[in-house]
């Protein structure tokens, strides 16, 4: 079993509050993260792909191709943006968990369509102390 992981980063703002909760409940659950004007992080993202190592190139995929996909699918909509205002987070609280799930949902079909690899995992590193991973674990 061989996997390749590439690390990316983008700065973005977010607010953790749910429209289905009142002000008090939002404050209670999300604490300082519910600050209405938002706050931000340097998000780190690890994208892990797996697949066959193509014999001529010796690669699961060219890293530059993954870079192009990440640029279009993640950097363009989310880098230097307010995540709550991005259409992908319509009705979704942009917690690290949900960001990981959204990125997985956006990246998986593009990687499958444009390369011979498939997405194994996405890890979102919100701060040096918090990270969240979705996908296959072994």
């Amino acid at each position: 079993m061989i996997e390749l992981t590439r690390r990316y980063a983008f700065p973005a703002a977010h607010v953790l509050r749910s429209e289905s909760l009142d002000e008090r409940e939002n404050e209670r659950i999300f604490g300082k993260c519910a600050n209405a004007n938002g706050h931000g992080h340097n998000y780190g993202v690890e994208v892990t792909v797996s697949g066959r190592v193509e014999p001529v190139s010796g690669q699961i995929l060219p890293p530059s191709e993954l870079d192009r996909i990440f640029e279009q699918v993640v950097m363009e909509p989310f880098s230097h943006r307010m995540l709550n205002e991005a259409s992908a987070f319509n009705g979704i609280v942009p917690t690290a968990e949900n960001i990981a799930l959204v990125l997985q949902e956006l990246l998986a079909p593009e990687i499958e369509r444009r390369t011979n690899a498939e997405l194994s995992r996405v890890r979102v590193i919100e701060t040096s102390r918090n990270s969240c991973e979705v996908g296959e674990f072994r």
């Binding site: 079993m1 061989i2 996997e3 390749l4 992981t5 590439r6 690390r7 990316y8 892990t48 190592v53 014999p55 001529v56 190139s57 010796g58 690669q59 699961i60 890293p63 530059s64 072994r138």
Partner: protein, 138 residues
């Protein structure tokens, strides 16, 4: 006390390399691999993970002093401050992509560590890219 323990030792080595596939000529390699077709270098970081149940007497899955010597002999002596293409026999036909370097290292270590011990490696090519190979016992 039934769950297996994973223990990891890391080493770092510096090597030069150029991507060259025996199936491509010089122009073809340049076209396929871009800048990586020119001789360049990396500070590789290799994490070697062995798993098992700690020995009831020593409390060890593996004696790290032994693992250190093994890695020195099997990996550092072969690859550190060497040219992967010209100083090792592994990349005459296939390019030393991180996938292929990790595969070669995994095969060397699989022969060198006890056959019943599950082995995994993670090879970091630089801060932004790494390859995982997870195996079971031989």
């Amino acid at each position: 006390m039934d769950s297996p323990v994973r223990i990891t030792r890391a080493i770092e080595f510096s090597s030069s390399l150029r991507y060259a596939s025996a199936d491509l000529d010089e122009a073809g390699n340049r076209e396929r691999f871009g800048a990586a077709a020119f001789r360049h270098g990396h500070n590789y970081r290799l994490e070697v993970t062995l798993s098992g149940h700690p020995d009831p007497v020593t409390g060890m899955v593996v004696n790290l002093a032994d693992l250190k010597l093994l890695l020195e002999r099997e990996i550092m002596e072969r690859f550190d401050h060497r040219d992967l293409n010209d100083d090792t026999p592994y990349f005459e036909k296939r390019p030393p992509t991180p996938e292929n370097v990790a595969t070669v290292i995994f095969e060397i270590l699989r022969e060198a560590v006890p056959a019943q011990t599950p082995l995994s490696i993670r090879l970091h090519q630089d801060a932004d890219l790494f390859v995982d190979i997870r195996g079971s016992s031989r």
